[in-house]
Symmetry: C2
Subunit: 526 residues, 2 copies
């Protein structure tokens, strides 16, 4: 049952102005009314989080493991109500909802396992050398500790996996930081349901009140108040460049600046090398058409830019992709506003000089639906026109035909920071382009060979975060176990009484974790 | 031989306005004239660094090891000329110069060993699972890679160890980033000598021109131009809050924001628990007096604040420290400007209401020399007056007498971020103050038991970096092997051709480094 209220810790609270979510498939408002929190409510949520922090940060890995697994269990226990709400608020199909719920639970269990294992704290021990000359060496030990209450902004394009209990919340809770979610306005109902699951899990596993809160919002005010609050220590955001950059600026202008991890979009260049096109034309066309339209093109790793050297094969490939896209059904976008922005951005790009649209731009029958589009341009035109480098969030891609390898290199050099770059190349073809690769890898967080950028594996080796402006901090990832590193800092203990050290730093190593001991990695006790 | 010129890569260049350094001991200008670089010179240094980056980043650990060890060798080969220049430009004694040279060489060799070993890149490998259902899993591997040209601002208080070839430069070069040093105006001669050693080492070991440049400056313009330059990717600074914060703001307001690691000062609270005072009164007085005056109090870990509960023993201890300080010779400060600022800040604190100065403030005989000072205040006064929380850079400390443990806790809660906090406590006394410790550790990067904060061990477990405003980023350290982490980001390779992977990520593990392979740490090949 949806109440429309905010979770201020474990209390449902709501009094201020209300709003509703929207079903883009039926093009109608959903029925539930949602309440925004007052400033008092916001302050109370932050005060509870700060108070909870002083106990939650000392919670053991085993206890956090219970909590995170319980969240996954409680999300599943929401059953069909969650799936129905998800589809009503996003226009995405049921299969996607079920798949994303699975991914969300998988992420929670991944972090549950990570903290149960415990090695993630990067424990490092240098034992004392009292006899060292000219000065004795003290016993010095350090490990990662959580930094404090985190604000997570729910993303529009993953109402579960990058939202209320998504990877950001899972990794922040795993680190020992309380979380306040600023719920995405489009998915307030989905957010409330998931929040109820988190609160139930927190109560069942004995977590302190305030370890989690969920705040509704229809505009930017709630988010801005949260980011400005002196007790908030970190902000996580996935969304537009304008949104992420605004939060980054607010956070840096606080009396105490705090980190903002904003993942802000990317055009994810796919570089097609000549032999690979010639040898795999049909499968390549299918894979690209599929990747461009996945989730109605509303993925942060959507391949919005295809780079290659002009040739008959490239023309043929472009035509094939265009035909495949034309044959596809129109797909429903997340919200009328997103459809509107897509149309505007896409028109802006395709109305530039010397752009050819390759797909037949037939009118879309239904109001929030779109047909995918493909356009093409010469390399020299692309180099001169920065408008063509902009992300068009939706099922759109631009093929850049360079006149030769040199121009292709120039195009790569002029790119902004990206989440990913993909190289489609035959065996041994890649080694002929060392300079291209040497420059391309400066632009990205992840390099892919003969795959598609969409589909981000959740694993320890994943890097989902690239140079600015794709994210505000390329040194961290929002997907995979390393995402926990966003919420911690090293704390060093010098000559600390052994019985007062955290378990992770005691000689016994009762947790059996990997540690750096006198510059050697080991699971041994000392 | 000092030329007074800038190293723009391996060229000595200088034409613009000149300045001289100052000998605070003799209170006279030193003889050499130094040239500031023109904007063209600055742009050329950055262009060379950018160009060098594309080869230097791919330099092997073994080659970087040679380079870093060669720098240490060449610094030693500068012989007495360096030691003399150091003492003339800093007013610090010869013994300190020799000791700091040793530390500087030790740091270079530490990073040389780190990169020769190679495990620091945090290689992580998840092998493919082509049979996985519902979707196959790709081969995904990642490791840390350097981010690009770094600007290092030389510090005033360590003309060698935190300057031209100090820990910042050593760790940045170790990571694979070219370095441009903005030389400290007070130590331009020391900086030129050390730069000549770096350039020699770079040439001898075949490093690309531009891997290092050294730019003089008498004001802020050169530094500001460097931080604003679009090809600079990272800034490191050790100095005042105002200086560090200004660079942080400039860097965040660039079209592409970049990280600034600024270590900006700290008052390093020392908490004295009652039993420990009673039982160790004399040695404690000696240790505190020694730590307060080390390097004329010009250490970032100087104990500027002593916190305790009022008692006869505390009064006695305070008196003992004051007497020890009074008996000490006046010491020479680094520069007339630093002496001036010290006098101003110290007077500002001691002229506040209800402050008692415990040391006899006799006039100092020599112009740039100071006598140490000790003052005391009640806890409730300290709580209400933020002026008393400010750093006084120099040999000064303030003892806060709290009326009880509760007030002591309040004082700890109101502190700003610090590099260190020290607990002086008897065995078992510490465990009686769990709440105090739980709060204190949120304020600091390093906790010390029964030691002094001065003396920062250079080792893997060291954390020299605390919450804002002690640094701009508490997640990183400027001392110890982890300092290299400031200059890198993870790069992920998905399904990358095995022969094109970096050595660190190949199955063979020819380098024999520690890696996370399918979630298990190992040095094994795959």
């Amino acid at each position: 049952m949806i109440t429309g209220k905010n979770y201020i810790g474990n209390q449902l609270v709501g009094s201020k102005r209300t709003f509703k979510t929207f079903n883009p498939q039926s093009n109608t408002e959903n029925s539930s009314e949602f309440f925004e929190p007052s400033s008092d409510d916001i302050n109370k949520a932050v005060a509870l989080a700060s108070e909870a922090f002083y106990t939650y940060k000392n919670t053991s890995g085993a206890q956090k493991n219970n909590f995170l697994n319980a969240i996954a269990d409680e999300i599943l226990a929401l059953g069909d109500e969650l799936i129905t709400m998800y589809t009503q608020e996003s226009g995405l199909p049921e299969g996607r909802a079920i798949g994303e719920r699975g991914r969300t639970m998988g992420q929670l269990r991944l972090f549950a396992n990570l903290v149960a294992d415990g090695s993630w704290v990067e424990a490092s021990i240098d034992t004392a050398q009292p006899e060292r000359e000219p000065l004795p060496k003290a016993d010095i030990r350090k490990m990662l500790v959580p930094t404090g209450p985190v604000v997570v902004f729910g993303a529009s394009n993953f109402p579960l996996a990058f939202s209320t209990a998504g990877g950001d919340t899972a990794s922040a809770l795993a680190s020992g930081c309380p979380v306040i979610v600023k719920s995405h306005p489009m998915h307030a109902g989905t957010g409330e349901l998931v929040s109820s699951a988190i609160i139930k899990a927190a109560e069942k596993t004995g977590m302190p009140n305030g370890v989690f809160s969920n705040l509704n919002s229809s505009g930017i005010e709630v988010g801005v108040e949260l980011v400005k609050h002196p007790s908030i220590k970190c902000v996580v955001f996935t969304g537009s460049f304008n949104g992420g950059k605004a939060l980054f600026d607010i956070a840096n202008n606080r009396p105490e600046p705090i980190p903002v991890f904003a993942e802000m979009g990317s055009i994810n260049p796919v570089v097609l090398l000549p032999k690979a096109i010639a040898n795999n034309l049909e499968s390549l066309a299918e894979n690209l058409a599929g990747s461009i339209t996945l989730g109605a093109g509303q993925f942060c790793t959507n391949p919005g830019l295809i780079l290659s050297i002009e040739s008959d094969e490239l023309k043929k490939l472009s035509q094939n992709i265009a035909e495949l896209l034309e044959d596809m059904d129109a797909s429903c976008m997340l919200h009328p506003n997103i459809k509107r922005t897509y149309t505007k951005n896409q028109s802006e790009v395709t109305s530039q000089d010397s752009i050819s649209v390759l797909t037949n731009s037939s009118d879309n029958a239904e109001v929030n639906y779109v047909k995918p589009q493909l356009a093409t341009v010469q390399g020299d035109v692309f180099l001169k026109n920065p408008t063509l480098h902009k992300e068009v969030f939706g099922p759109f891609s631009l093929i850049v035909q360079c006149k030769d390898g040199k121009e292709l290199l120039e195009v790569v050099k002029c790119l902004e920071g990206q989440l990913t770059a993909t190289l489609i190349a035959e065996e041994n073809e890649l080694s002929q382009y060392p300079e291209l690769i040497n420059h391309l890898l400066e632009k990205v967080g992840r390099l892919i060979h003969n795959g598609m950028p969409t589909g981000v594996e959740v694993c320890p080796s994943m890097q989902h975060g690239g140079p600015y402006p794709s994210t505000t901090d390329s040194r961290f990832t929002s997907v995979g176990t390393s995402a926990i590193k966003r919420f911690v800092r090293p704390l060093c203990y010098q000559s600390w009484p052994h019985n007062l050290l955290p378990e992770e730093l005691k000689n016994e190593n009762a947790l059996g974790i990997f540690r750096l001991v006198n510059s050697e990695y080991s699971k041994d006790k000392i």
